[in-house]
């Protein structure tokens, strides 16, 4: 009994609940108000099942972190949900509309916009042009209407105002006219995120938004993401930086070897033995009692080590 008290998630007998969750908190649990619901999504690369998710729900209006060791299938899951890759099986819906088999550009138009782990800022366009490209429903993007400037001038001006606001918020306003290629790696990450926000998405999916971002900027980036939530945008992000995960996420989903192995609020999910398994490998000999001590949490230690290795790797690029 004392063991149960110490580690409630360990025992199925202890039905843990949470205000975001309908029923018990467990991997693949149903949410009270989900924005994304995925079922039986699998993606096979040769003999490797990169994604094998039975059921997954992302809560609406919350900041959800998707964590897991490298190669867990997080990026592949992003690619599948956003139409950049095709699954072997599976269906999913966004905001009640089925998106399985829908091409990437239509997914984006429906309000689910993603960024990339390896930044895709358009180096030969200026920072402002990058931003303007993010706006949706532009009349000037039609072949024939593009020829008649009065048809799209007003809208372009409005989009420019919005772009300037976002650039100022992300401290990129001084770079407005520069080619995006002249930005640092971290600034490109910020630009990509700001550009995605141009379309006022309902759900923004950020693949490692902090990787390579100057530590001086990370604090304000955290602020931006919290503001997104305040504005009613749902956020799903992949991150290795545990400070970010712990501080801003409302919900954490843990993937390992393609599966969702754990989920829960950030305070408790780190203590889940399945998460320790995921990061340290199965059949580890960690005494779970250690987790409650004041000593360093082994998951955080492992994550920290991975993040460092990862950052070193990104910097080489």
């Amino acid at each position: 009994m004392s063991n149960l008290d110490k580690n409630p998630v360990q025992s199925p007998a202890a039905a843990v609940t949470h205000p975001l969750v309908k029923g018990t908190v467990e991997p693949g649990c149903a949410k009270v108000d989900p924005i994304v619901i995925a079922d039986h999504v699998t993606r096979q690369f040769g003999g490797l099942k990169a994604v094998d998710v039975d059921h997954l729900e992302i809560p609406r209006g919350q900041i959800t972190a998707l964590i897991g060791p490298n190669g867990a299938g997080k990026t592949t899951m992003f690619n599948l949900l956003t139409g950049f890759d095709k699954p072997n099986t599976g269906t999913w819906e966004f905001d009640g509309k089925s998106l399985a088999g829908v091409p990437a550009f239509k997914v984006a138009r429906s309000g689910m916009v993603r960024t990339f782990q390896l930044t895709k800022s358009l180096g030969r366009l200026s920072v402002l042009q990058n931003m303007l490209l993010g706006a949706t429903g532009q009349r000037g993007e039609g072949l024939f209407s593009s020829l008649v400037k009065p048809l799209w001038r007003r809208q372009e001006e409005e989009n420019t105002v919005r772009a300037d606001e976002l650039l100022a918020r992300f401290k990129l306003d001084a770079k407005r006219e520069d080619y995006a290629a002249s930005l640092s790696g971290g600034q490109r990450k910020l630009l990509e995120m700001a550009r995605a926000l141009m379309s006022k998405p309902e759900l923004i999916m950020l693949d490692e938004p902090m990787a390579g971002v100057n530590p001086a900027l990370t604090q304000s980036l955290l602020g931006h993401i919290k503001n997104l939530k305040a504005d009613g945008t749902s956020v799903l992000f992949v991150e290795h930086d545990m400070h970010m995960v712990m501080h801003i996420s409302d919900w954490v989903i843990v993937m390992a070897e393609g599966r969702v192995v754990a989920e829960g609020p950030p305070e408790t999910v780190m203590k889940d033995p399945a998460v320790i398994d995921a990061y340290l490998g199965a059949h580890h000999d960690t005494d779970l009692g250690d987790l409650m001590d004041d000593g360093p949490n082994p998951v955080e230690v492992a994550l920290e080590a991975e993040r460092k290795a990862h950052d070193a790797h990104s910097e080489e690029k």
């Binding site: 091409p103 072949l143 080619y179 002249s182």
Partner: protein, 325 residues
């Protein structure tokens, strides 16, 4: 050597209909490659289609408007045939398909089985009547210095260069607009543009069609001063158009025009000088046929020097290019 004549011929190339045709074809290729990043190595096919799709109906008695529409429609269809299977794939697929299909269409028009329509290897002639009939210029010779032409030659030049200007204005309007921003984004990273909700496939198709129609209209201008000759539409033609586009600057408005002028002036000058030198015995070891080929060796060398020392072309933006990976 008759320097006056050599320079006169060279200067005349500046406004020749052939220069206009190459400029227009290079503007189209600029839309494909310069702005959208499409690797079209078959621009010659669009010129060929324009030429035959104009000449064949004309010879069958169609009015000029029908012949021009036929050229445009055929090139649109051809662009779709090239684009539908390849534009969803990686960029290199379009390159392979365009280079191969350009050869295919050239062999098709050369086959003897189609002699009644295409004239096979002899090509077509006698299709200038409908164009000459709408010439408002009275008969006679006009101009000054090296620019002395009869009414037909002026008419071809005026129409040809008017079309070049119209195409340039069209490209200017497109590329300053949000439409142009999308295709320039595609040139760099399709997935980024896709993630922002743009139908990349549709934009690439639009670009392929626009540049292809320009190539096809260039094909009409190209044949108006001469006959249709299938041998003119080899991959060599495609690479001259590439040279012109790169010389002027791939993603520029004036680049293709100035590139075409320089290309033809230099070709004419070197021909004049080499032929003159051969006639005067200074280059006794060479025949005029060989001299003709030497000119194109010089074009190749010039292209190499250009790519090494000024990769952005004459009008290109060094910065914009230096970032390309």
């Amino acid at each position: 050597m008759d320097w006056g004549n050599i320079f006169g011929n060279a200067i005349g190339e500046i406004i020749s209909p052939t220069t206009a045709a190459y400029a227009l074809a290079a503007i189209g290729l600029g839309v494909h490659f310069g702005y959208t990043g499409l690797l079209n190595f078959g621009q010659a096919a669009f010129l060929l289609i324009g030429a035959y799709a104009f000449a064949i109906p004309t010879l069958a008695g169609a009015p000029i408007i029908v012949a021009v529409l036929s050229a445009i429609i055929c090139s649109v269809i051809f662009a779709f045939i090239l684009g539908i299977p390849t534009l969803r794939l990686r960029a290199d697929y379009l390159a392979i398909v365009t280079i191969a299909s350009a050869e295919v269409v050239r062999y098709v028009v050369t086959t003897t089985g189609l002699t009644d329509f295409t004239g096979a290897a002899n090509g077509l002639s006698g299709f200038k009547g409908t164009f000459a009939a709408i010439n408002p210029i009275p008969e006679g010779r006009y101009g000054f210095g090296p620019f002395m032409y009869n009414e037909y030659d002026w008419w071809v030049r005026i129409v040809g260069w008017t079309l070049v200007v119209l195409a340039s204005v069209l490209v200017f309007l497109l590329m300053r607009s949000p439409w142009g921003r999308v295709v320039k984004g595609i040139r760099e990273d399709e997935d980024a543009v896709r993630s922002l909700g743009k139908n990349v496939y549709s934009y690439k198709m639009q670009s392929l069609v626009i540049g292809g129609v320009m190539g096809s209209v260039a094909g009409i201008i190209f044949i108006l001063p001469r006959a249709v000759q299938p041998a003119n539409y080899t991959t060599g033609l495609t690479f001259f158009i590439w040279t012109i586009m790169l010389l002027g600057g791939a993603a520029t408005i004036f680049g293709p025009i100035v590139g075409a002028m320089i290309f033809w002036v230099v070709l004419s000058l070197t021909q004049g000088i080499l032929y003159g030198a051969i006639e005067s015995g200074a280059l006794g070891f060479m025949t005029t046929t060989q001299a003709g080929q030497v000119r194109f060796i010089l074009v190749g060398v010039a292209l190499m020097l250009l790519v090494i020392f000024r990769p952005q072309g004459i009008f290109g933006n060094k910065k914009e290019l230096s970032f390309s990976v």
